[in-house]
């Protein structure tokens, strides 16, 4: 690089660029927080079952195999829309029926959830399925 472009000029561009980018990012975040109430189904969080369901989701590391709104591991199906794909009864029966024990097939552990916990999980997955995700995923298969 030419000698007219000095190190201190490069340094100043760095600090300026970093601060500007961070402020722009903060402004977009601020705007996000304003728009979110129309999209994130926050009214459903008043239902204690949804909150309890999220804790059960976390405490069993479901994200270690599944994706939720496309984020997580890619070993097992997307669950952000599983409530719409399968419905509440199937979800509960499926969790209760694991592992299938079919030789060579991917296995889901038995988590020994109570009936109450299964209902909480379903409430959480219903909430997740109603978040406005800009029409993602492309089809019901997730």
């Amino acid at each position: 690089m030419s000698s007219t472009f000095t190190t201190s000029a490069a340094r100043n561009i760095f600090y300026g660029g970093a601060v500007f980018s961070f402020l722009l990012f903060l402004a977009l975040t601020f705007r996000t927080e304003q728009v979110l109430p129309q999209r994130d189904q926050r009214a459903q969080l008043d239902n204690p079952q949804v909150v309890a369901g999220k804790r059960i989701w976390e405490n069993n590391n479901c994200i270690g195999c599944h994706t939720l709104l496309g984020e997580g591991a890619y070993f097992a199906p997307e669950l952000g829309n599983v409530y719409k794909r399968r419905g509440p009864d199937f979800i509960k029966a499926w969790i209760k029926g694991q592992p299938t024990g079919v030789p060579g097939r991917r296995q889901m552990p038995q988590f020994n959830l109570t009936e109450q916990e299964l209902d909480d999980m379903v409430a959480f997955l219903k909430y997740a399925s109603e978040i406005n995700t800009a029409k993602w995923p492309p089809n019901i298969e997730g």
Binding site: M1, S21, L36, L45, E58, L69, E71, R106, P138, E141
Partner: protein, 457 residues
């Protein structure tokens, strides 16, 4: 090695290599579970293997960064480390905390681990990459604070160069953004939104500062090019990284419930994210071409050049492939993401840590460079690992393209598991490439024990 206290880097590098081996072994277990679903079930379910695989990676990279910083900052600041003793104590605290956490993952069901570590008091567990029990997270913060205190004191009393300044900014940023791992709101959209403030602002933000600083340091040493030139490049690269990467966070906000304006902001800015990595490649090759000396450590030079190229391919090209919102609509959460993740982490962060180890370890062992024989073996390891990673990435990309086609684009979409059955051939080939990668890792470790004629430091 100019200052004796730089030697505290050595245990960090050894610990990092141990965890690297664990990471790769568990990766092979997972790779096999992709095709033989019940392999090791119920003893090591997939989610457990994955936690060990990803968490071991994160911890060993952090150890690598810490070791690199303990080596680099005193030399740049031209003074001894503030407290070598604190650095050693923190190493053992970190290593034991990491070991206990891994034992916890493997020994008991995750829900039990959550209960006995009191997750309900401050729930932070069960989110991707942040699976560690809350007490482990608190431990990480304590280690990071001690580490930053130690290095900041060293930095403040010594010479402030562009390289150690950028490194310190990167390390402080790393610690500060980790604090968002303690924020876990009930609101799933906000949870995901701020989760990325740890994950994205680490790997596509402040970690790039650390990467740039380490690479610049090693290039000065092995090429002898003027500091003035190298420091200018460093500032340009990290400016490009932050300007593209900060708002580029938006490429994670397309489909998680965040407002749709992110599809524009995220696409445009993240499309620029390959630019800093391309600059890094130019930088590395330019400096080596303009070298003013023939450094005896040719292996370190190879790793430095490799970092530039592979970071550009993995983070830059493979990131760009699926970063535009209309493309990402189809590829989000598929094997395409896994392909990108593997090559980006290897090319950018694994390789830069190994670059630093390759450069500094011989010096800490009292020689300018390893024997020619040892370096040849190390270069074999470079090619084995790098070529294996290219193939892992290509096979996962092929799997991902088919997955997208069969499950998402088709007029008669298949279900998830039906799709997985269709693409199992590519998972098998990925596993074979993974075994070659492991052979590369073993070759790399063997190179440390090969004797031969060495030049004194």
């Amino acid at each position: 090695m100019k200052y004796t206290s730089q030697a505290v880097a050595k245990p960090y590098f050894i610990g990092a290599m141990g965890l690297f081996v664990a990471q790769v072994l568990f990766g092979l277990i997972m790779g096999l579970q992709y095709v033989i679903g019940d392999f090791l079930f119920p003893h090591i379910p997939f989610n457990v293997a994955r936690m060990v695989h990803t968490n071991a990676l994160i911890v060993w990279l952090l150890m690598g960064f810490m070791g690199s910083a303990y080596y680099l900052v005193p030399e740049e600041a031209e003074t001894e480390l503030h407290s070598p003793k604190l650095a050693l104590i923190l190493f053992w605290v970190f290593l034991i905390a990491a070991a206990l956490t891994v034992i916890g993952y493997l020994a008991v069901p995750y829900a039990t681990l959550a209960r006995i570590t009191g997750n309900d008091l401050l729930p932070t567990m069960g989110r991707e990459f942040l699976e560690q029990p809350t007490i482990t997270k608190i431990g990480i913060v304590i280690v990071a604070l001690g580490f930053l205190y130690n290095l900041s004191m060293t930095f403040l009393k010594g010479r402030k160069t562009a390289i150690n300044t950028v490194l310190m900014i990167g390390l402080w940023g790393l610690a500060i953004f980790f604090l968002f791992s303690f924020y876990n709101p009930h609101n799933l959209v906000k949870d995901k939104f701020y989760w990325w403030w740890v994950v994205h602002l680490w790997v596509e933000g402040v970690w790039e500062l650390i990467l740039g600083a380490i690479l610049a340091f090693v290039l000065i040493k092995v090429t002898g090019v003027d500091r003035e030139v190298i420091e200018k490049w460093l500032y340009v690269i990290i400016t490009l990284a932050l300007v593209s990467g900060m708002v580029g966070t938006g490429h994670h906000y397309f489909w998680i419930g965040a407002p749709e304006f992110w599809q524009w902001w995220g696409s445009v800015f993240s499309a620029l994210e390959p630019v800093p990595f391309f600059a890094m490649t130019l930088f590395a090759f330019n400096m080596v071409n303009r070298r003013r000396r023939e450094h005896p450590n040719r292996a370190a030079t190879l790793w430095a050049l490799g970092t530039g190229v592979m970071a550009f391919l993995g983070a830059g090209v493979w990131g760009f492939l699926h970063t535009l919102a209309p493309v990402n609509f189809y590829t989000h959460g598929t094997q395409i993401t896994a392909a990108h993740g593997h090559m980006a982490f290897y090319g950018a962060y694994v390789m830069v840590v190994i670059t630093m180890i390759s450069y500094s370890m011989p010096l800490m062992r009292g020689r300018a460079a390893n024997s020619n024989k040892a370096q040849v073996v190390e270069m074999w390891a470079f090619w084995l690992m790098t070529v294996a990673m290219v193939f892992i990435t290509l096979f996962l990309t092929a799997a991902g393209i088919l997955q997208v086609w069969l499950q998402r684009v088709s007029d008669t979409p298949l279900g998830f598991m039906a799709t997985q059955d269709q693409i199992s051939l590519f998972y098998w080939m990925r596993e074979v490439a993974g075994v070659v990668f492991l052979i590369g890792v073993v070759t790399y470790l063997v190179s440390f024990f090969i004797k031969g004629e060495e030049r004194a430091a």
